[in-house]
């Protein structure tokens, strides 16, 4: 294990950075009941990069990156607008539709580009073991910046997440929702490029579910979410090395084990 430590250090730090922001964002996502919003926004970002492809930009071209960001802005606006318009239709329905239509449109565009879908698939697979110090630094800086925005805007964000929108105008709910989905979309698209869709989804949802099982106090919940995210990252990395399994999938499976342990504890120690 010791000889592998320097090789696995940056992938592990990438996981811990991802755990830091996603365990927090996960509380909003679970409270709002928009579980698959990360998949939808990641798919919208990929659609942006695909359009870049059509215009002749390589996947690693900064222009493709900006097109992804533009697509996320449009996606965030769409999600905020659709929520406010239709209270009777669950938000998850729109999220699913945005996901499916963005994925299908990407296929249609790829059908007209020379290189085909293989490069688009790379956007969703991620390669945790290839995480470089520069990449981890970039992730950490972005997460920190967005984390600060979330601390500054915590009152309206949490009010909407908890459904306490009395006294807020429709326009201001839309605006705050747009900002929430925008910051959220910028985070997940960067995380997905490093860790892959499956891994990012797990970091978003599982720590907050574990924390909700174990405690009710908001601050303790956040702490439990972070601790479980970090413990699972370290445990998953060790398991991946010991049993020589693909790293991303091992971390996701370890999240399953963590949740099972939390459920077992809840079963043994009722509230």
């Amino acid at each position: 294990m010791i000889e592998a430590l320097p090789l696995l250090l940056w992938p592990l730090l990438a996981c811990i950075a991802i755990a830091g922001i996603h365990a927090y964002l996960g509380f909003h996502v679970v409270e709002r009941g928009v579980i698959f919003v990360d998949l939808a926004l990641a798919q919208v970002a990929a659609l942006g990069a695909t359009i870049g492809f059509l215009l002749g930009y390589d996947l690693h071209d900064p222009a493709a990156g900006w097109l992804s960001v533009a697509a996320v802005i449009i996606g965030a606006a769409l999600l905020a607008f659709l929520k406010a318009e239709n209270r009777r239709i669950p938000q998850e329905a729109f999220i699913g539709i945005v996901y499916a239509v963005a994925a299908a449109t990407a296929i249609l565009i790829v059908d007209r580009t020379p290189e085909g879908a293989e490069h688009i698939k790379f956007m969703f697979v991620g390669n945790l073991l290839a995480a470089t110090p520069a990449e981890v630094g970039r992730l950490a800086a972005l997460y920190l910046g967005i984390g600060i925005l979330h601390v500054a805007w915590r009152k309206p964000f949490f009010a909407i997440s908890h459904g306490r929108t009395e006294g807020m105008s429709t326009t201001s709910v839309r605006l705050w929702d747009f900002l929430f989905y925008l910051t959220f979309g910028l985070v997940v698209t960067q995380s997905v490029a490093v860790g892959g869709v499956l891994l990012v989804f797990s970091y978003l949802i599982v720590p907050s579910v574990i924390a909700m099982l174990l405690t009710d106090a908001p601050r303790t919940r956040l702490a439990v979410g972070w601790i479980s995210g970090i413990v699972v990252s370290v445990g998953g990395m060790i398991a991946s090395y010991q049993f020589d399994f693909p790293t991303g999938a091992t971390v996701v499976a370890t999240f399953g084990v963590g949740l099972a342990l939390a459920l077992a504890y809840r079963g043994l120690v009722p509230r």
């Binding site: 090789l7 293989e118 697979v125 390669n127 945790l128 290839a130 020589d244 790293t247």
Partner: protein, 314 residues
């Protein structure tokens, strides 16, 4: 670019490495060779013999475009003396990141232990769009070059040169093994070409699923007229399937070739509708139990084609 290195620099580098490695080679330490695919591993074993320990990162039944990285890959690359890739962006989705993170400057691109096996190979479908009817292609060319045995010789020579750079004291050993490989491959190649001709493959029109077979077609005279997949990774549209069946009937296509990692349901329906035999052909060593080494691969492929075309044993 690597080919334009000044000869004096090459000699200096070789000497430096000789000083470092001659000791190791004499002490009986094997050079550690890590390849991306089992085809390259098989050729490296042919050339390196007992002076090397060879391992492939991907298995023959895996699509080499997508390989799930494991921590052991990083450890292997860190200890590797030589890394060999197919090149032409085949491994672009996973290998560069791993090389970057393995903390072994020797096997990074430009290092003395990095080998792009496609160097010097006559690459097909290179340089942008060829035209709608032939499909649009990758700027670096089609990466499935090991499927022409003639290119196997170029790969073997590349590996021989790389190993000789790393262990100059063993130059004669590697050279002798290359000569032996070359003569076995050439005599088998005559047999394969005769087999292909007797199976009627020369000039036969074929359709393939993915664009994996242009080099195989080049080696044995097949004529690839269309693909099941209109673009790599894009499932075929209904009209494309319909057009394809019509085209296969009209042009009297003789065979439909499918790679083992695609779902055979749709292609077998296409083959049935067009009345054309279909064969699932392993593109790599290890993709089928009979294709254990590079030289067995073509035996296994031609055998499968013979069975598909309804012929018995030769």
């Amino acid at each position: 670019m690597r080919h334009r290195i000044h000869p004096l620099v090459r000699i200096a580098a070789a000497t430096a490495v000789a000083l470092i490695w001659s000791g190791a080679a004499h002490a009986g330490a094997r050079l550690s060779v890590i390849t991306t695919t089992p085809d390259l591993a098989s050729i490296a074993e042919e050339i390196g013999g007992d002076r090397v320990a060879v391992e492939s990162l991907s298995k023959g039944y895996q699509d080499p475009h997508f390989v799930d990285a494991k921590p052991s890959y990083l450890l292997k690359l860190r200890k590797a003396d030589l890394f060999v890739e197919v090149g032409r962006d085949l491994e672009a989705g996973w290998a560069p990141g791993l090389l970057n993170n393995a903390r072994n400057a020797r096997v990074r691109p430009g290092g003395i232990g990095f080998l792009d096996a496609s160097a010097g190979v006559a690459i097909l479908e290179q340089g942008g769009r060829v035209g709608r009817e032939q499909g649009d292609v990758h700027p670096l060319g089609n990466p499935h070059h090991w499927l022409n045995p003639v290119n196997g010789l170029v790969i073997a020579a590349n590996i021989r040169d790389a190993l000789t750079r790393l262990a100059p004291a063993e130059a004669k050993y590697f050279h002798d093994r290359f000569v032996s490989f070359e003569s076995r491959l050439k005599s088998k190649l005559d047999g394969w070409r005769k087999d292909a001709a007797s199976l009627g493959l020369t000039g036969m029109k074929v359709v393939t699923y993915h664009r994996s077979w242009p080099y195989f077609a080049e080696a044995f005279g097949l004529d690839v007229v269309d693909y099941v997949e209109p673009r790599p990774g894009v499932p075929p549209a209904p009209r494309h399937v319909q057009d394809l069946i019509e085209l296969m009937k009209a042009q009297k296509v003789g065979l439909l070739i499918v790679e083992p990692y695609f779902d055979p349901k749709l292609p077998s329906r296409i083959a049935q509708s067009a009345g054309v035999p279909m064969v699932v052909l392993p593109p790599s060593v290890g993709a089928s139990p009979v294709a254990r080494g590079y030289l067995d691969l073509f035996d296994a492929q031609l055998d499968l084609i013979r069975k598909a075309l309804g012929g018995g044993a030769p």
